[in-house]
Symmetry: C2
Subunit: 194 residues, 2 copies
DNA sequence: CGCTTTTATTGAACGATGTTCAATTGAATA
DNA sequence: TATTCAATTGAACATCGTTCAATAAAAGCG
């Protein structure tokens, strides 16, 4: 069989990454296989290699769209009054992680093979997220130099990521039950010097 | 063939996890396969299943020993004068990550299958590391309640983890080149309120 | 409309993976 | 020496990512 054209090429690519995202959000990275995506959209495994370079490529695409979704959520939170933004942003971040734990995990669980780099469009997407947060919190860091602000934002960002990662893999609960959100708020407060 | 007894059972188990660690530190989680570990120690693949429940078990064992090694390094740094400990601990942490990037990555890159939990001995090992840091930095947090100290330490811990993770997977370098160590120091300073 | 060209799609094939388990064989025991 | 025991094997199974010659359907053309 050939040239079925049940779907336009772009449409088919979307269909495939949607199917991949569905599988990943249900079963995580471990359950995401080429054959299962193909089966889900009713095509042969080989077809996916016309749409994506390989499975890693498909995963990176899905991760990219996860970053986009996170951006939407954070942008919404950034509309709050400047003094409220730290709390709102942290809440939005953890809401996002909790609503899509497996997709969010895949963002960091997946590693490209040694020597391969993320595609060119990925890093700007990440930088845009950071810029969004930096702009939202700018009014609260007016006494800081540009470099200092940059460092604060990146540290906050990485810190929230660390808290969420350990929470999701349940490597955070030790003796006492520690709420990830509270740690997030604590982190942001201290990083903003309040 | 059977009962070769070239090695005592415990000895063989050590041999296998050493081989696994060697492979992982050279090629990361992706290169760590049952067959390659078996080949490296001169046994058949099936033999590994007498020593470990499965590949996940072997990985968790290696991760456990990585935590131990990190503990040794941090304990050494904690011997410094109380005021120097924040800097020394951060330096020790990043030294460790940079000296074993792939082993350290495996600590967080690896996820057990859905529903499976880390073994009972793993969580205490993690808690001991946190306790070490908490004790070392206790003198610098005397104005804090026990709960507050706990939260500060865990947040620092998760934050360092986040910074290192993003740095190792090169998702930290955005516009300007940001040194992970400096971010680590910044984080710890602010979390300790200095 | 028929013929040719193009190309999207297939699915068998390859090598590699984790895991199982009956068979084997060396050591320990009697 | 004969028997029991258990450590070790390696073939087998299902699955994986990936490739690619074959194919069939659409598009182009006379």
């Amino acid at each position: 069989m050939a040239r079925r054209s049940d779907h336009a090429p772009d449409e088919l690519k979307r269909l495939a990454s949607d199917a991949g995202r569905a599988i990943a959000s249900e079963e995580g990275l471990r359950g995401l296989t080429v054959r299962r995506v193909a089966e889900r959209i009713g095509y042969a495994p080989g077809t996916l290699y016309n749409l994506f370079a390989n499975l890693d490529d498909l995963i990176v695409q899905i991760n990219g769209s996860t970053l986009d979704a996170l951006g939407v959520v954070l942008a919404e939170a950034a509309k709050a009054d400047p003094e409220d933004r730290p709390r709102k942003l942290v809440e939005a971040y953890f809401d996002f992680v909790e609503s899509r734990p497996r997709l969010w995990s895949m963002l960091f669980e997946h590693r490209l093979p040694e020597g391969e780099d993320l595609p060119d469009w990925y890093r700007p997407k990440l930088a845009a997220l950071l810029a969004l947060v930096a702009e939202a919190l700018g009014p609260l860091m007016q006494d800081q130099t540009f470099e200092a602000r940059q460092a604060i934002i990146v540290t906050m960002w990485a810190g929230l990521h660390g808290i969420s990662t350990l929470a999701v893999s349940s490597k955070l609960t030790l003796v006492a039950e520690t709420d990830p959100r509270q740690l997030g708020h604590l982190l942001v407060q201290r990083m903003l010097g309040r």
